[in-house]
């Protein structure tokens, strides 16, 4: 049960952090017109394909004692996993937010501006108006990080009772030849994903 909980709070924290940066960034990219915007969009799309082990390796170099952030001692802690998974979720959330905002009625933006809303006010308006799409972005980001194993293994170290998540536990049980237990954990992971999605689905239903 501890494993499920560890997985859940690490993935949720990483998603929340990524949302705090990714949603505003996505809105900005969607609404602003600037030179190199196409390149940014292309970059965001490319980053969606970031392999987890590459993120893991990159952050590993950053937070190892020999790395620039080594002082903080984040390697092999839940915080280290959160950092890596946040980077993993960021492009997904930003990208899908761009899509959600772009799909909105252009008259909304014009109305907001006519009514004299500042950039922050306009941004909030489009996020609220496109909340279904933004919620889908968060769900996709959460799904990505709760199901990944590369970052959790490399940055967490699969430490029992501490950084062992459902996916690293599955990897461990598989390597130990305990296939049945591994499969059971896989089903538990699916169940958790179902519960989270169901909760968000209900939340969406309540906000018309």
């Amino acid at each position: 049960m501890g494993i499920v909980w560890t997985s859940l709070w690490i993935a949720a924290t990483a998603t929340a952090l990524a949302a705090l940066i990714g949603v505003p960034a996505g809105v900005l990219v969607a609404l602003a017109r600037f030179r190199g915007r196409g390149a940014v969009l292309l970059g965001l799309n490319t980053l969606m394909a970031l392999p987890t082990v590459v993120v893991g390796l990159f952050v590993y170099g950053l937070i190892s004692r020999q790395g620039p952030l080594g002082e903080w001692g984040l390697l092999f802690t839940p915080a280290g996993i959160v950092l890596g998974e946040c980077i993993l979720a960021l492009p997904i959330i930003a990208n899908l937010t761009v899509t959600a905002v772009t799909a909105l009625d252009p008259r909304l933006l014009a109305t907001c501006r006519t009514l004299g809303g500042g950039p922050a006010r306009v941004g909030l308006a489009v996020v609220l108006e496109g909340r279904h799409g933004v919620l889908a972005a968060l769900v996709a980001g959460f799904g990505r990080v709760v199901a990944e194993v590369g970052v959790a293994m490399m940055l967490g170290g699969n430490i029992r009772w501490y950084t062992r998540t459902m996916t690293t536990a599955i990897a461990l049980e598989t390597s130990k030849g305990e296939f049945v237990l591994g499969l059971a954990l896989g089903l538990a992971l699916l169940g958790v994903a179902f519960a989270v999605n169901a909760a968000l689905f209900t939340l969406r239903g309540r906000t018309p």
Binding site: W9, A12, T13, A16, L17, A19, S64, R65, Q66, G70, G73, L75, F76, P78, L115, R121, L124, A125, V127, L128, R131, G157, N158, I159, R160, W161, Y162, T163, T174, S175, K176, G177, E178, L203, T207
Partner: protein, 300 residues
């Protein structure tokens, strides 16, 4: 249009914020003192650490974070100062680790031995071999599949030393480099009907899950000693050296050594304690009255 958004904004953003705050609040903060130990997959997969560490943790009110990887990576984590103590099995690499100033106070903990396992039919006939290198030569000669760890672990280092002694450059269809832990390699060898070099401890722990048999054992060159080393606090001042020494005292002391000797899953000892009687040789795992085991790589 003064405040058209706040009520709805709150409805949307409040749950998100609440979740974040809640999660940050309940995340396990560093309540107990933590010690980080990198070790090999064999100590973890065999279940030994599961009985060895809890008494130490309870007696001292601390947590030992175990990072189970191959010996090569375990030592690398020590070099970088990412762990406080390393518990590994590759005498040559361990001595270099200490000589290079990365670790101090290396101590013998225990030993078992390496064995060659394979399908019961033994297509290469290694059971008839006189020496470990002879057994490997038979495998190569027969072109029988052999699964290598391929991960610079202690077992892999031993395997490479044996191939070098046998003057064989293992390559070809029959030589499979898995790049995975001991348990995964035994599983692969089982599926492919292949041979593999394994420490006896892990094999005993996996014996019931795989159909492999011990086909060759007893050559003194297959002696497998484990050592524990504190990461040098002079090089990495942030390491928890005091607690590392405490753990080493425990593992090499009477209580730790008794636990190691008494760990007999399935009625068979996996490891033989070395710390209290360093000259004692395992009477069970090695050839009776055989020659003293040599160090890594020093064969005839």
């Amino acid at each position: 249009m003064k405040h058209p958004f706040p009520p709805r904004a709150a409805r949307f953003a409040a749950p998100l914020l609440a979740i974040t705050l809640l999660l940050t609040a309940i995340s396990p903060a560093g309540a107990a003192e933590r010690l980080r130990m990198s070790t090999t997959t064999s100590t973890e997969n065999s279940g030994l650490l599961g009985v060895l560490l809890p008494p130490f943790e309870q007696a001292n009110g601390v947590k030992v974070d175990v990072i189970a990887v191959g010996t090569g990576k375990a030592l690398k984590l020590g070099e970088n100062g990412d762990v406080d103590v390393v518990f590994v099995h590759a005498r040559g690499a361990e001595e270099k680790f200490v000589a290079d100033g990365f670790g101090i106070d290396r101590r013998d903990v225990m030993h078992n031995d390496f064995v060659l396992v394979g399908p019961a039919a033994d297509p290469a006939g290694i059971a008839k071999a006189a020496r470990a290198v002879d057994a490997l030569a038979r495998i190569q000669h027969a072109g029988a599949p052999f699964v290598s760890r391929g991960d610079d672990s202690g077992t892999h280092q031993k395997e490479r030393a044996l191939w070098t002694t046998a003057r064989i450059k293992p390559a070809g269809q029959w030589y499979l480099e898995a790049g995975q832990g001991m348990g995964a390699v035994l599983t692969i060898a089982n599926e492919k009907g292949a041979y593999a070099l394994t420490d006896r401890g892990t094999f005993i722990a996996y014996r019931d899950k795989v159909g492999l048999k011990v086909l060759f054992a007893g050559d003194p060159v297959l002696f497998n000693p484990y050592g524990i080393i504190a990461v040098n606090p002079a090089r990495h001042p942030h390491v928890n050296h005091a607690l590392a020494e405490k753990l080493m005292d425990f593992i090499t002391g009477p209580e730790g050594q008794r636990i190691i000797a008494g760990y007999r899953p399935g009625g068979e000892a996996l490891f033989f304690p070395d710390a209290l009687a360093p000259d004692a040789l395992a009477p069970i795992t090695l050839v009776p009255n055989g020659p003293r085991p040599a160090g890594v790589g020093s064969t005839r």
